[in-house]
Symmetry: C2
Subunit: 581 residues, 2 copies
């Protein structure tokens, strides 16, 4: 194998075009090996093999610096920069993350997992280089799907002001995670169809120089284009057209389902973790489709991750004009939801907790100051959610629950979740966010409320004495186990409470607890700092009550095992029991 | 006066062009009356008089719906929609806010004060109208300065997808608060210079139809343009060129200082609240200029509000390439700062607390996950800061202080502030944010630390017993007064503590306090929810210590008097004394 002799990017510089093309084929066997067995970002990585080879052939990393947007296309870069074992040696899979990571290599400059950040991050490297009178090229890579994000557009707009070497490779595979959304994609199409000659050009309109490569999977033309812009003295976009999933037929045709893929059978392409059984994506989709059919004012909104609430292509078609995918544009989504609600519509916007982080100001200013009745569905806000450092769902409570006027609800079961969602859509008083359960579909035969308009009323689900357990959302089941353990060990039946509301304290109930309780335990599925439990601790600050807050430590976890994290944070019923007794 | 007969927009429809022009002059007398006596947004309002008249002449508000970006140009709209007394009758000044406000009028749809939101908010009204099969025009107004903001660019990009009536008036006065920054402004210039005919057109590149009005202060041509797009069936940009500050010579020439202006003498233009004396803007500017002169790696960054840290035009010129104004693009600024720090530079990015709200994800993902040593200066994060509902600086602690890896510092004096800033610039371990003091320039002869690298070490500034007062940042002086009051009334000298670090607890010191203290009082200049005091309450949750947290209630205040808010939140030393004794 050619790869046997490639330990660093320097080793590919002596290869000729035929050899580089052969190298691409070798790399795809490594990608296939890892992805078929471990899963990961398939389409972006398969489409960007040739471009990565050409970049490393032309530029001199790490003196020349690459910044990959989202970095879900960085596997070839990892293979060429000393990390090929992680793709060819099954035992070494765990040695790399799915994203760029400075801890792994001097060729990686940032931990990146959110979209639309590469141009801004790289522009800092440009400025820093220029301030210090250093040389070298700075190259940002960004996919077409990421271009619609506000940070990317701000970065592209500002780049022209830098006025020095800066190369922005736009990797256009005519696809976001799902199809693209936004007017700019018409311009990309016009550029593709005109061979880059179309006069109206988004990038030139933003003050950038521009170069077009029709076949972004052809190493020779990529090398020609990158060589032409190397060491130039001003910001330039190199717009390359690549095939998402290139080299594996199922991924080339089914581009959405192969953007990220579970482990699969190499021969048949069959999913090895096909899931099945109840899940909140499908259940939510079914609920919303039904609601939309009954009421034309209901509209479901997503930002490039429709499948997080089960809206596969067929379901999107069913929903028609009542379904909006804004593309990667969460800020716009929240503001637009506020506008829809103001106009009398009933918007439900869903995305991952980690991506809601892009919308703090829109939740505060556009939505909550105006108190418009939009619904936000916060997905994977949980220790049981996504486990990469860049996709953690552990910070939404401090971020969102301290914004005035927002009603943030934490359901403890499937039945309570849909009751809350139904109420939220039907009411017209409050902006409401709902923390979608993430600990499996737990059914409960405990009767659930249908009206949540009287805010901050916690529900006692088991009346006891001495010890009260306030078990929020996904951690309600830990609360149940703890209550059972306490009863079993001490004979005392503690009081178990479903707080339901994250955004306020039930002062009446908390005051009543003082009568016959001396210990309050809070449980929440997120970091403790700025969270729910601290509000309870503040409430009892000057009182006799002993308050124990359980949740997670404020830290950026990365690729963790849930059980380890629960143990480290004293979150098993036995640990809590030992703490309080 | 023509205005005598104008109670609603319907009343201007019978006027001819000459009368409408005369009306503009009358309106300017009202603007001048209010602004000279009360201060406010001068340039934007004076430039948009004719356009507002033309909009109300052509469209039928509130059936046709206007959404004004930032809404700092909405005074004429207020005058034409039943609120003229607030401009002509000095006693009625207080009857309107400086921004659009649905509580004031059915012609206002949103409380808006942050930039770059109008297109997204209005697109929600468009969608809502279409879902419900309603008719009417939706018109978003946005200034050229706001176009560089991520939310605006996301909104403009998505607008094309709506495919129905939507009119976006781009009010181009060739100016942000200061000069514009970003590549798109070259395109606006090319469009202006070509009479809108330039083939390369940002708006068309985003999929929008486009129309140009050369003189946006000429009522006749505005009426012609707006009439042409009224009731059209697709999104269209109407790009109008206006004169910022039109009609008042000083504001036409000194456009930056007249963007917002204090009350002034009508004859001379002289500022009636000229300020003077020490202020943190000038002091910070002087410090940073000195620092930049000593070290070429130091770079000062702002996002369209350079004067918040004293960088007037002459100072910006002095700083040269070491000063960056990214325009309205805070997301880009924080990510770029992370990149600069990664490359070995020493970036200091300053803006108002309220505008840091646009950068939660960038602080978390781009900066803190990567632990790059950038400095964020958080301005007007205080009850003593800006008092409009859209510009409150009371939420930064829950938003920022719960992000892992960030070191958020709260200085209690001028000396401590600059010691912290100096340390932050010189260190290379942590992303650091500093809450700029906002309670006047308070000097202290208490020696201040020069090294803050040992995190979360609170400082005991007065050793006492029984009661410990943790007085954070701007509220340190309230802590001093409370300590003095307690000593005076009881003879007990309490312990006074400057916590310095907002982002963590000093567990050693807090544990020591248990020995000879039974009461802990916390004081913070922001909302209590998710804040500093709750972390202390959590620390002592299961201990004997009585904890009293003082700070502000979680709510959106609007145009408040500081004394009222302090009283309502029990924040005077006497009130606190009465609570704890």
């Amino acid at each position: 194998m050619l790869l046997d002799n490639i330990q660093s990017p320097a080793d590919i510089k002596s290869l000729d075009t035929a050899q580089l093309t052969a190298l691409a084929a070798e790399i795809r066997t490594g990608l296939m090996n890892r992805l078929s067995k471990r899963g990961g970002h398939f389409g972006p990585n398969f489409g960007f093999v040739e471009a990565t080879i050409a970049l490393h052939y032309v530029f001199d990393s790490p003196r020349d610096k690459f910044v990959f947007d989202v970095s879900h296309q960085c596997y070839t870069h990892k293979i060429l920069t000393g990390r090929k074992a992680a793709f060819f040696d099954d035992d070494a899979f765990g040695s790399v993350s799915g994203y760029t990571n400075p801890a792994e290599s001097e060729h990686d400059f940032f931990n990146v997992g959110h979209t639309s950040t590469s141009v801004s991050l790289a522009s800092g490297l440009v400025k820093s280089r220029d301030l210090q009178g250093e040389s070298g090229n700075v190259i940002a890579v960004i996919g077409d799907g990421s271009l619609s994000g506000g940070e990317a557009l701000e970065g592209l707009d500002f780049a022209a002001e830098l006025g020095s070497n800066f190369i922005i490779v736009v990797n256009d595979n005519d696809m976001s995670i799902a199809e693209n959304h936004g007017g700019l994609y018409g311009n990309l199409k016009a550029l593709r169809e005109s061979g880059g000659t179309c006069e109206c050009n988004l990038f030139r309109a933003l003050g950038l120089d521009y170069r077009f490569v029709a076949d972004g999977n052809d190493i020779a033309s990529l090398i020609e284009a990158f060589s032409a812009v190397k060491d130039t003295d001003h910001p330039t976009v190199v717009h390359i057209c690549t095939q998402k999933g290139k080299g594996y037929a199922p991924a080339e045709t089914e581009r959405e389902s192969w953007h990220w893929h579970n482990p699969f059978d190499l021969e048949t392409g069959e999913d090895l973790w096909p899931g099945g059984g109840e899940n909140y994506g499908d259940l939510t989709c079914e609920f919303l489709l039904n609601k939309m059919q009954q009421d034309k004012r209901v509209v479901t909104m997503v930002a490039a991750v429709p499948v997080c609430i089960g809206f596969t292509e067929d379901k999107r078609r069913l929903a028609g004009a009542q379904f909006i995918d804004v593309g990667i544009a969460e800020e716009h989504a929240v503001a637009m939801a506020s506008g829809i609600a103001k106009g009398g519509g009933k918007p439900v916007f869903a995305t991952h907790a980690s991506f809601f982080q892009r919308t703090y100001d829109q939740i505060s200013q556009d939505l909550c100051i105006n108190s418009n009745p939009a619904t936000l569905l916060v997905n994977t806000a949980s220790v049981y959610g996504m486990y990469d450092i860049t996709h953690l769902g552990l910070f939404d409570i401090p971020m969102m629950a301290n914004i005035p006027n927002l009603v943030y609800l934490a359901p403890t079961s499937c039945e309570e979740y849909f009751a809350m969602l139904d109420w939220s859509i039907e009411q017209d008083q409050y902006p409401v966010a709902i923390r979608m359960p993430c600990n499996g579909v737990v059914h409960s035969d405990h009767p659930v409320a249908t009206d949540y308009s009287e805010l901050n009323r916690y529900e006692i689900t088991q009346q006891g004495a001495k010890i009260a357990i306030l078990a929020l959302g996904d951690f309600y089941q830990i609360g149940e186990q703890l209550a059972a353990l306490i009863t079993e060990k001490t004979g005392i039946a503690p009081t178990l409470i479903d707080p339901r509301y994250i955004t306020g304290t039930d002062d009446v109930l908390l005051t009543q607890l003082k009568k016959d309780h001396s210990v309050v335990v809070t449980l929440e599925d997120g970091i403790l700092d700025g969270g729910f439990g601290e509000k309870i601790a503040r409430f009892y600050g000057a009182a006799e009550m002993q308050v124990y807050n359980y949740g997670l430590k404020k830290e950026f976890l990365d690729r963790y095992a849930v059980e380890d994290v629960l143990l480290a944070n004293h979150l098993t019923p036995q640990q809590i029991y030992d703490d309080i007794f």
